[in-house]
Amino acid sequence: MTLGYVLLQNLRRNPLRSGLTMVAFALPMAVFVVGISLVLALQQVSKANEAELRLAVQNRIALVNALPERLRREIEALDPDKRRIVAVCGFRWFGGRVPNTKSGIQSLGADPDTFPIVYRELRWTDEEEQSWKRDRRAAVVGSNVAAQYGWNVGDRVTLESTVPPYLSLEFVIVKITDATGRVNGMYLRRDYFEESRAERGFRNPGCNVFWLRCTSIEAMREMQTLIDEHFANSPNETRTMDENAFAASFTEALGNLPGLMQGIALVVVFIVALVAGNTMMMSFRERTRELAVFKAIGFSNRRVFGVVLSESVMLAVVGAAAGILPTAAVLGAIGVRMVGFLPITSLTVSPTAIVIAMCIALSVGVAAGLVPAWQAIRLNTVSALRRVG
């Protein structure tokens, strides 16, 4: 009589209970794996951002107050021998939308000369970089946006800006990028944008944010204080921060979905632990006599302990797998596209999330089985056998 056989018989003895427990286990684990995937994806984005060594310089009062474009030269002049700064790129909010649609696209005008350097992670081919620099109407589009509107490289698209002077401009898509964190964005050339503004009488070229690529973390920290000190007490006071600090204010302003997901994931772990514990307790109580028989016919304590514990673990692992795998498959198949400000392509379950979820299921299984298994060892064989019911 192998352990596997005993396990299988035990699970089959009360199929209703095993089934209910597994479902009660599977559903929260499905929720868990989705939540943790989202959190992991965002962590990946922020880790990727960190590696790019970028600093954002914005107006100290508010992002909407544009800084004059000449500040780029002043920032560059703070590091004349280019020891700390690789390049500076100014961005202005275009706030574009496809005509006759309600939802906007996160679209920004970028300085054409330094954009490919500061956003090196977009992995430019020579050809793409040349067409970006050659054509004033060039635009780089995130893969999510391109998929949403059915755009391809070479397409001409017209966008209406929702900020004064409400330009309507035509762009040529030169590159579609799926770089981490850039999939929901669109970048156009600021020179083209500013010229069109000037034609409408808006002669105040400026940037909402300057992005700097630095040479090292130390250089970043140095530049951060240097820039803010330099512009202090000037009409254009700045606030300089790293990319993740910049992103954090948006996350917070969107109701902190990642935090919410983390909270839900924690609650779920708590729930499945209770469900598993409950079942193991009930099933142990019903089988006290049987375990006593095992011991009476010479099963070692270790073996009895193993029987009870592995039943709990098996229930937890099978239940978790029953929740996680279908969820991963379904989400992978339908692909819920993430729109809006979160820099994520789609709601999918990542392999890391599956591993984490299975590990948690395993430990919950062990934890839930420990108390009954311990009780099984300490079971007084004689009195348990004598007990009725």
Binding site: L20, V23, V31, V34, L63, K102, E160, P164, V267, V275
Partner: protein, 394 residues
Amino acid sequence: MALPIRYHWRNLLVRRTTSALTILVVTAVVGTLTWILGFFLALQSSLSVAGDAHKLLIIQRGTTSETNSAISPEEFNRLAQLAGVARDPESGEPLISPELYWQTQLPRLRDGGATRANVALRGVTLRAFEVHRNIRLLGERFSVGEPQVIVGRAAAAQFAGLAVGDVIRIGVGESREFRVVGHFDAGGGPMESEIWMYLPAMQSAYLRNGYSSVSVRLEDPASAPAAIEQVRSAPIELSAEREADYWRNQTSNVRFYQAVCFVLVAIMSLAAAFALANTMYASVAGRAREIAMLRTIGYRPHHILLGFVMESVLLSLIGGLLGCVACAAYLELVGSTKDMFGSSTFTTMAFDIRLTPLLVGWSLASVAVIGVIGALPPAWRAARTHVLTALREP
């Protein structure tokens, strides 16, 4: 005669551990459910307050929010021809309020200033207080001659430096100092997250001579479609929206998150129903003889069915109440303030998650439904217990 409540209560007590574990499952689910429900209810109620049917919001064509709208004085003057506008009973002047809208970033109090929120600044004339009827001053109003501002209640509660007497710096290059002289209440609406000041003072601080938007009070809400059409066509050529529609559009970005959260909570609730069913099945199985006894002394099958459903509902309601208490404790300890971007204003709407009777009612109602769903199959089995067989069992 139905089974007495005391009988069920005792049954739950007899299976102490199992009952407690099941209750805790429900507690966890309901606590989460209540928080999420509270979050979206608070946002919803803040927006529904904003929906004054008499008000129209006029912004520039081609834009979607006040933040990005610019209206020139000439365009504003053309609005004088708009028909159906309410008038001031004394002076007979039309209730049209030109407004300037901009923003400043202020530290959030809840994270000690680690992140900053975009807080809206609104320049208004005194007419605004007649157009926006739900504004109630708590203290002084800004005077037209002094650099003073008044601050919405929600903004004052959530962002730093907005107490009465504080000074905030605004304008191009933060050049002007304005003193906070009072707070105001907007019935919980999004305007409570704003800072208001005298329009000409704000125009001069930002070197602007135009406006961002115009709010209009209509005599009759029914004339809104006609007025919207008139604003759209020549010679006015601007864009008008009912106030409620405008604010609803500002939350379009959270709809998706809302949907995701509700799906997750629904799945968790279903899991709670399964956990309850599991417990109840075990309870039914362990009490076969007892049920048979009850049948022999005259209880009918439907009494038994009802009894088990009640037992499960009792179990889940205790869990539900504990869940609400847990949620209240969380809000008390961790904080209940939240704020959220408008999808195109980029200014924040601050609100407070509160455990209102409505919210508690919703949570308990849903948990009762979970209890019933979880109990029905085992209760059905209990009701069909075969009396003789069950009594014969050891």
